[in-house]
Amino acid sequence: MVEDGAYRILIVGGGTAGWMAAAALRRRLALADYRITLVESDEIGTVGVGEATLPHIKLFNDMLGLDEAEFMRETHASFKLGIEFRGWDREGDRYIHPFGAFGEPWGGVEFQHHWLRARAHGRPVAPLEAYSCSVMAAQANAFELPDEDPDSIRSTYSYAYHFDSSRYAGHLRDYGTARGVIRIEGEVCAVEREGESGALASVTLKSGQRIEADLFVDCTGFRSLLLAGQFGAEWEDWSRWLPCDRALAVPCDHGGDGLTPYTRATARHAGWQWRIPLQHRIGNGYIFSSALLSEDEARGTLLANLDGPPQAEPRLLRFRPGRRVDAWRGNCVAIGLASGFLEPLESTSIYLIQAAVTDLINLMPTPRAGRRADPRLADEFNRLNAMQYERVRDFLILHYIANRREGEPFWDALRAVELPDTLAHKLALFRARGTVPNYQYGLFARDSWLSVLWGQGLRPRGYDRLADGFDLDAVSARLEDFRGRIAAAVSGMPGHATFLWGYCGGALELLS
């Protein structure tokens, strides 16, 4: 029972962000202390952002206590070992950014230095990707759950999912409402604020119903109804580095390359195209710069590059890359697209929601400390949120600026763009010596940076000198042994579709 006097949280907007927030808050906050209400309108569509995810989503689902197989059946999910990038350096090339390690550090020296050194000394080494179990499995369209035994080569990767995000939101809606989230259908038509403090006081729905709350969570997507609408929160624009501002999205039937255990991002003339294989369909989209490409041209390219027949008319989305400087103002916290937008090139949208929800739970105002949200906690939320966004931003920019697609205005301009200092610094270090960024908080980890820096064609001039202290024959033997163990493990893995069929059971009749 929610008791009178409970702290009232109102989530406005019922897309992926709204229901992730509602489910997690309900799971983590005592029913007696917090009343959680979510208002959503059946009239307003959701963007359905992020059908592709990162491995962190599993922690979120585990925290909720979701059954993995059931969740995958419900959301028509498939497994994901990484993202394939096609044509990002030059037309025709490809690499996979895996959710897993390349090799292993030896003697306190990171793997790539041993590999670079063996390569520089003319030793016969395999391509970098041959030392990644996840890349090899992805290329073979194979999948198996990782092994918990740290000695196993199958402990060197993790996985994420492709899923239908509307179904995921629906799954979490069932979860949340079954556990006490109060769902109200309706469209917000007015917002009331307290005269003195300026804090949000209530929202009024078209039905005339007025809902008061202590804390408002703005999950209204691009509209940012409360944060931008009421506070005019300052916007930090990142379009000089990320020039795409439109997306055309269309689902299609299976066919072509089938149920790959990876997302694909293919570079196009003025942007890129995504391909996300679910159990029952493939999600596709072309993200482009409207300054350089018409909607018609984009539609033509998109429809000409599908695995199977389209299931609908392509849908247009408009966006601006950037973020609200303060996602938490007063008693209003924006989560998801209401707080910022970064294109789904690295499947980070749902991760950013998850990180914000996790921080909000830790920094949640408590009724006994007074109903007013503590500005110190808001500061910390905003500091963490900025860190998360900026790290993802730099990683995305890397894909664009390190290209050799000469003669295409979109790509030519990106090669010439002035980089954020934080990224320029990382590139200089990798070019000099193959050392990759290594930080404790936020995305992405070392292996991710290595994968994309190398995949985009950057080549270091040197490697860590400490690698020279190792016997070269022993290093060569070790490289070969590692590669061999991966090859053996992958050859024993079932195909992705076969594994998924066995794991999720009946839903796979959707696949034919």
Binding site: N362, L377, A428, D464
Partner: protein, 488 residues
Amino acid sequence: MTPSPPRVTIVGRDTAMWLTAAALRQALAPTGVSVAAVELPSRLGAASVHVSLPPLEALHAKLGLDEAALLAATGGSFSLGWNIAGPDGAAPFFLAHGSYGAPVEGGDFFHYWNKARRHGLAVPLEHFSLTAMAARQGRMLLPDEATAIFGRTDYGYHLPALAYAAALKTRACAAGLAVRPTRDISVERDPDDGAIRAVRLDDGSRVEGDLFVDATGDGVLSGAPPRDGATDRRLIARAAAFASVAPYSEVRIAETGWTSLHASPAAAYVVHAFSAERSDDEALADASRLSGLALADASVESVPTGHREAVWDRNCIFIGASARSFDPLFDLDLHAVQLGIVHLLSLFPATADFAAERSEYNRITGSALDRLADLPAAFHNANSFPGGFWEGKRAAAPPRAVAHKRAIFRARGEIPPMEDENFAPDFWRALFVGLGETAESWPPAIDGIAPERMKQEFRRMLAFVRDKVLEQPTHDSYLRRFGRSEAA
């Protein structure tokens, strides 16, 4: 591929010099890089002591320094943390190198303690720390499977500085380091880019290098020490060893400054910091009174604090106090040397053009040293001790990171996660709680656990700590065992 700088010349003295030289020589010799040392006269005295942080153990292991042999040879001892004794009967608090309490359902113990305290729990935080409670009983804390599940139990050392520096020098020379002693040096720079080409010794000879490391303690190779301006003064002295050697440092707070005692089998070392208004004679009297010891070998120096923007400037890397000098309260100099060494090795130039390495070294070392300096700054900022010395510390504007840490601790009992942090959240919390701060709230997610269940958990933890601590050897008997194995 261009070959990287093949010659490193270290100019310095004492512990910073020998730790750097031993580590660089050991790591770089197999890669073909030569390491030479130019040794300036020592500034250590019989009363000099180092207090180390837990990570030093790992560096020693890399250098092949056996812990038992090192402690036996130097007369050193273990340190489980700091006991901070307030003035005039105020309850002391322990700042331990181990965790406080065990996680509850994967969440931090601290919040449960904070909540329980609000509801009347009277048990101090440190009673939940294996390390703190072992220290209070004069015992070691030897980890086992059960303690590892409970939490971290780390330790540092008290190392008599002359003997420790000598042991490091022996190690470095055994690894093949060539040492050139000199009374002073002059620096020969490239007329074009200002890079150091060579140092000239007192006998007129030159030692060249491609990279130079300044471990002189005051940045001789730059011509200027890293100083923001002299502040306090510090007296060091020693006394006869205690019959029983405490496995921790004790800091005694007085109105005019503080006195710390670092026990070891070799001697009891005393450090006394005071504001410049007090005369050296008065300070000696204060130190004697506060320590209650007959002090010998006393000397006084001013302790400036300051930092250098570029800790790697052109082809010269400034390490330890040459890069930054810290407030002496927690004796962070040795750890600063270690940070410099670790980052230099992980960024040792891959090619002759090392601008990228230099830039990254300056970024990451600067950040790590900032986080290190947060500790005394936070202590000063949050202190509520009486007296002009402490009022002055309180009045100084804290670094932004410290102000933020303190604000978030007070608001929620959380320590904001920061890159390159040196101390665990538990350590920061123990500091703030010990200084009298109260965390005003806790994450509401912990309210899901019933108070009855938490009472049981608290009782279980307290019993575990009590039983485990009683199983531990006393510090004295543990050190004696080390001594015997060395003699055998």
